[in-house]
Every structure is written in C-alpha cells, then in structure tokens.
C-alpha cells in the first residue's frame, strides 16, 4: 500500500492550496475533481480506482483519492461483517473505522470464548453492544447453570430409590467400578454387606403395605445414619439392601455391621397406632480391588453371591445376626 502523506500536511494543503496546474481557476476543472472525489464515497458502482491523470498535478490529490478509496472499502467490508480488511491509511476517519472494526473483532472473540463455555466474559464501554452482549452472556450462564443443576438432579433421581432415598440397584451397577478403584480403596480392600429385614412379608400382610413402606424407610434411615461418608447404601430388592464399605478390613466391617444389627433391633417403628420392633439379618464378604482388574462387574457379582450366601446362612441360623465369610 502506498505510503500516506502526514495527515497534518494534507490538512495544511487543503486549507492553503498551492497548485501548479494551470487550470487552478477553472471552475469546471475544480468541479470535475470534486465530482470524482465525491463519487468515490457517494456512488455505489464507481470504479475509477486510479486518480485520473488530469488531477495528478494537484498536491495531495492522490493521497486524498487513495484515502477515500480505503475509507469506502473499509466501510463496505464492515457493512458485510468482514472484519479482516486491512488498510495502511491513517487519519481521523479511517482511525474511527478501524476502532469500529477492532470493537467488532473483540465482540467476535468474546462470543467465541462464550461458545467455548467461558461464560464469565463481558464487554465494557461499547454502549448498546455492551448492554446487549452482557445480558445475553448472563442469561446464557444462568440457563446453563440451571440445566446442569437439573441434569444432576435428574441423574440423582434416576439413581435414587424413591421410597427410601438411598441409591437403587441401577446405581449399584453404575458405581460398581468406583468401589474397586485405588482412590476409594487405598488399603486395597473393602467389605460388602447384603442385609434383609426379617419377616418383612409378615409385616406387610399384618399391617399393610403402607406400614411396610414406613418400615423400609426407617430401616434405610438407620443404615445410612450409621455409615461413614465414604460408605454406600443401595436398595437392592424389595426389602434387601447392599452396603459397601470401601477401605475396610473384614474384622472392622464385621464389628460395624454387628453394631448396625443391634441398632436395628433397638429401634421402634411408629406407624398409626402401632409401635413395631424389627430385626434384620446381615451377610458379609470382603472384596479386593486388585483382584477385580480383569472384569470388575463379574467380580462384584461373585462378591454379591458370597454375601447373599452368608445372608442365607444368617437367616437359616435364626435371623437377627451377622454372618461373614468362613475363616
């Protein structure tokens, strides 16, 4: 791009023209020059990109011609949203257009950041653009936050048992692999408990299903109250629950489960005019995370089977007791 003359010099030339052209007093000549310059910025299909030779002798005419063409092209580019047009022209008008281009580029960049999930971006000092853009960003951030929260809630709901509020069987399958991770089990082992309310069918048959529901809620509540924050409780079947105690040795698990059994025996469930005492049976087994490397889900199924077998032994030997793996 041709170097421009110092704009100050242009201004000086415009105020006190010193032209060598013999036609300086020719009003027709001046009119043609003015018409040409006007056409650059005024006519949509004007195509004279080079300064006509007859005007070349007028000092700074070429510079003004070039500047007007640049302004025209910049304005046309901006009008169509094209932000890459570059011009080497300087001066107030071109400077203002370039500032406008710069602001649009900045808005574009901000929009791209927001599209990438960075909702904290805001635009300042750009008048109406700022207001509208920032409103949009705030609304978007708010709606995304709500959506994320609702998604988490729905996810949570789909993993939770509606009656008791503990995790459901579906959650057990999904979370199974986590139990076996090193993060959950730095000691390398944990305890899995399968438990079951004794004579639950009889409670339902005698007092009704609403009472049965209350018993389940109370039992689940007792279980979760006794567990550590890292332990998990799942409603696995009708009155069957599975407890997972990561990072726990079998002896510790046994002691904790025994305390749980006693707490269940000691509690009373109030329903309408009744005050019920319930008991539960517990079957324990140990699980080790390193053993589950090859197929964690299959491994957990085996653990459940062992726990279930121990639960069966607890039932067979009189109920209201805790049975762990033999030896």
């Amino acid at each position: 791009m041709e170097e421009t003359t110092n704009p100050s010099a242009v201004a000086t030339a415009a105020s006190a023209p010193e032209v060598d052209a013999p036609s300086v007093c020719d009003s027709e000549y001046i009119a043609r020059l003015v018409r040409h310059l006007y056409s650059i910025v005024g006519l949509s299909n004007y195509k004279i990109k080079d300064l006509p030779e007859e005007f070349a002798c007028i000092r700074n005419a070429r510079e003004l011609h070039n500047m007007l063409w640049s302004i025209r092209e910049m304005a046309a580019a901006l009008a169509t949203g094209e932000l890459e047009f570059a011009s080497g022209e300087r001066g107030f008008t071109m400077g203002s257009l370039k500032a406008f281009q710069s602001n649009l580029r900045h808005l574009t960049w901000q929009a791209q950041r927001i599209a990438a999930g960075e909702y904290q971006h805001r635009v300042s000092f750009l008048g109406d653009f700022s207001v509208a853009f920032n409103q949009m960003a705030e609304q978007l951030a708010g709606r995304i936050a709500t959506l994320v929260h609702e998604t988490e809630e729905y996810k949570d709901m789909s993993f939770k048992d509606g009656l008791t509020g503990v995790y459901n069987r579906k959650a057990f399958s999904q979370l199974a692999k986590k139990f076996l991770s090193h993060e959950a089990n730095p000691s390398g082992s944990g305890v899995l408990v399968m438990c079951d309310i004794d004579h639950f069918k009889k409670i339902n048959d005698t007092y009704g299903h609403l009472c049965g529901d209350e018993v389940l809620r109370a039992f689940a509540g007792r279980l979760t109250a006794a567990l550590r924050p890292t332990d998990l409780c799942f409603r696995y079947g009708g009155e069957e629950f599975v407890l997972v105690m990561p990072n726990t040795l079998i002896k510790q698990g046994y002691s904790a489960t025994e305390r749980l059994r006693a707490a269940v025996e000691a509690m009373r469930v109030e329903f309408e005019n009744c005050r019920l005492q319930i008991t539960a049976s517990f079957g324990l087994t140990e699980f080790k995370f390193c053993t589950a490397d090859s197929d964690p889900e299959a491994y957990l199924v085996q653990c459940l089977q062992r726990a279930d077998a121990n639960l069966y032994r607890a039932k067979e030997s009189g109920r209201n007791r805790v049975v762990a793996d033999a030896g």
Partner: protein, 171 residues
C-alpha cells in the same frame, strides 16, 4: 559492581496513606504525561530516538512484569489471565484492554487498549508513541508464561486511530 540506587522494588511505591494523608492516592493524567514526555524529551536529546525508545520499552517491560506478578498472580488459563489483567488496567485507569484475536498455538495476539493513559487525546503526529506500553504488555505476557514476546504498536491515537492496537508475537 557498584550498588544500584534505584533497582525497582515495590518499596518505591511506598505507604501512600501515611505519605499523603491529605492529597490521597490519585493525581491527574496530565501529571503522568508531563513526567513521561519530559523524560522522553531528555532521553531522546541525550541518547537519540532509538536508544530512548529502547530504554522506555525496557522500563515498560519491568513495570508490566512487576504489576502482573504482584496483582495478577498465577492463572492456569491464558484467557483467565488476560481477563484479570484487563480488570486491573480498568481499576487503575490505565486503559481499556480488549482482545481482538488470539492464536494460542502460534502465540500471536492482537490486543487493543482504548483510552490509553499514554496517548489518548494526543494530536495526530504520524507515528505511534506508546513504546512504554509495548514493553509493558511484553512484561505482562512474560509474567504469565516465562516466554519472551515482541510487542509492536501498529495503531495509535497519534497515528489518527481512536484506539491503540498491539501485535504480540513470540520473540
């Protein structure tokens, strides 16, 4: 080597509450520009334009790096870092920093500073003047990544533009 008298530290900012209990912590932009352009006049007269500009760039670099280390600190993301820098420049009334484009792979950035402390409102002089700001931005970027950058002002109030535009590239 002789002990230096003016190696920069934040001690040179001092305790302004104690030092200026009546006049407070603000002054006018004219005072800042008076200092800068008087200094530039003398530096240019004694050392020539190129050397004077180099000194000013280095001073800006020192200031930008010190400010970023003190007030911005560490950020994981470059964009978070730039946002924080932008806020600080606003809080200190230095200018309105905006990003026009950013290529994180090539580390090429195009930044603008509107209402720049050094030049906004100055007459059209036909050349850019924000040499100190060039160094300042290089210092700020160095504080983030430890890398050296070349910063060049490509548009300035003094070239007739209405905002200062800086191109940032790895050195």
């Amino acid at each position: 080597m002789q002990e230096r008298m003016y190696k920069f530290s934040w001690d040179f900012i001092g305790d302004l509450e104690e030092g200026r209990p009546n006049l407070g912590n603000t002054t006018r932009v004219e005072v800042y520009r008076l200092f800068q352009y008087a200094l530039r006049d003398v530096l240019e007269e004694e050392l020539g334009t190129e050397k004077a500009d180099r000194i000013l760039y280095r001073a800006g670099y020192l200031a930008g790096k010190a400010l970023a280390e003190k007030f911005v600190g560490h950020k994981e993301s470059l964009y978070d870092y730039v946002e924080k820098v932008k806020q600080i420049l606003l809080d200190l009334n230095i200018g309105i920093l905006r990003v026009e484009s950013a290529d994180k792979d090539k580390l090429h950035f195009l930044l603008t500073v509107a209402e720049d402390l050094d030049c906004s409102g100055l007459p059209d002089m036909g050349h850019a003047v924000c040499t100190y700001d060039e160094g300042f931005i290089a210092g700020v970027f160095n504080a983030f990544s430890g890398m050296e950058y070349d910063v060049r002002e490509i548009d300035c109030w003094c070239t007739g533009d209405r905002t200062c535009r800086f191109e940032v590239k790895p050195a």
